[in-house]
Amino acid sequence: MSGIRIAGCLIAREGNVVRLTTEETAMANGAAGEAATMAMRIVVEMARLMGAEELIPISSAHIDGCLYHGDGGVEFAERLVAMNGRVSVPTTLNVGALDLLAPQRIRSSPHDTAMARRLMSAYVELGCRPTWTCAPYQVGHRPGLGEHVAWGESNAVAFANSVLGARTNRCGDFFDICCALTGRAPLAGLHLDVNRRATVVVDTKAISPRLKHTAVFYPVLGTWLGATCGSEVAVIDGLPTDLPEDWLKALGAAASSSGAVGLFHVAGVTPEAPNVRTALAGQAPLRNVLLTPQMVRATRDRLSTAGSGRIDAVAVGSPHFSLQEFAELERLSGARKFSVPFYVCTGRDVLEQLESTTGTAGLRERGVEIVVDTCVVVTPILASSGGVLMTCSGKFAHYTPANTGYEVVYGSLEDCVASAAAGRVIRDESLWS
């Protein structure tokens, strides 16, 4: 039995020993305060479980733990505050369970509302930036290629690793803040070159160029990827090389909902994959998969639990809507008025930029409701009557049935606009035939 003694607790009870630097040992023994001591105990325990032999300094963190799921999470965060915890690296916050700019929008019980607010306040007191967005990369938090960070929120992890080339594992709630407090993460998993190499090649040559040049394809591709690859790293070949960032965002969000994808490569697009060979690090893949139109069609169908007929609401913005997506929504909406609520979820920083440029009056007149700091699948916003929700987000399509009780229909943003105006499902099927 080997172990490191930290504040009276035996850590690393079996298997690998986690070697700490002098500074880390001091932190573990109280030199940086009680909160950092507890955080270091958790980081070292996780390092042991992950097989890490040492920790690595991180340059930033993104915290998913500020979304209220129950009173245990509040107790944890408030304990860190009571112990004078303070993050040691720049840290952004994910969505909470409240729209702080329009609190009346949320239908939670008084208890849940009060606790959600306490939780959000606690994380701000720990020194995190109140960004309240699941797309921190849209509001300036963009670590560079090869930079080690500790991020929570599954879509943000996939984006940071895949699109930015930064390095983070899929940090769970509570672990993210422990990394931020200590400034360290276990040196394991996606922090290491060997685990970033693609082992699966996905060939998309059988998919029509028209579909591949359309936004609606990417959440479907992501959903298929997550279900097919789980946590394996894939390189996707044959996609257009001018893919907009929003489409990659949608791909990663869907893949990390249906699977445990923390990193994917797109040949000729993402920074660690100038080509397939580089993404494979010169080695042979374990698997080659040819993506067929039938697979794509079947995946698209599985994203919906309802088919045709009346809809009760539309929701978009998971991950949070970008300025570019707002512009696209404006363009597609034209002069149409919506006959059902049309929720657009975004971050407060994006909303502020939108208001200082094109404004939101036109969208609001048409019936758009802009939700900030949170979104419709993490907290009760949709009318309690239930019904059918339409979305162009693969992540919303994945989580809506369990989290809201609504049936869901997946379509493009253009389909969502047409359907919201008509009050019933209108989808362009020609893309999928």
Partner: protein, 137 residues
Amino acid sequence: MGAELTGRVLIAGNASGPLLRLESPISFWGGLDPHTGVISDPRHPDHGRRISGTVLAVPATIGSSSSSAIMLELLRNGVAPACLLLGRHDGILVLGVIVARELGYPVIPVIEMAPTALAQLPADQLVSVTEQGTVLY
């Protein structure tokens, strides 16, 4: 009983209960109600089953990084499984148990086992788990 399989101990402890082996990977957040312990994702093949008190075999974890928070609330609310047997996993569920231990909540053993080993365990029968990570069935 008479057969046994041993895995890697992530959190040590003794436990027993009926073995519930999930048919598909799961995200605890968006997949499991933390107040009741019932699988709430209508697309999951085990939708409607209750995990509380079971020796829960999870072939793979997917999805949300908030699953650790759901694990913590299951423990706090007294509706957690008696033990977790994890196949391919990313540490997010075991993290929920580690944080529960920090907060002084009741904790459960967590054992890592190959998915092929999980597949050999007898579904819905009473099994017990030892501190050494052995599942007796």
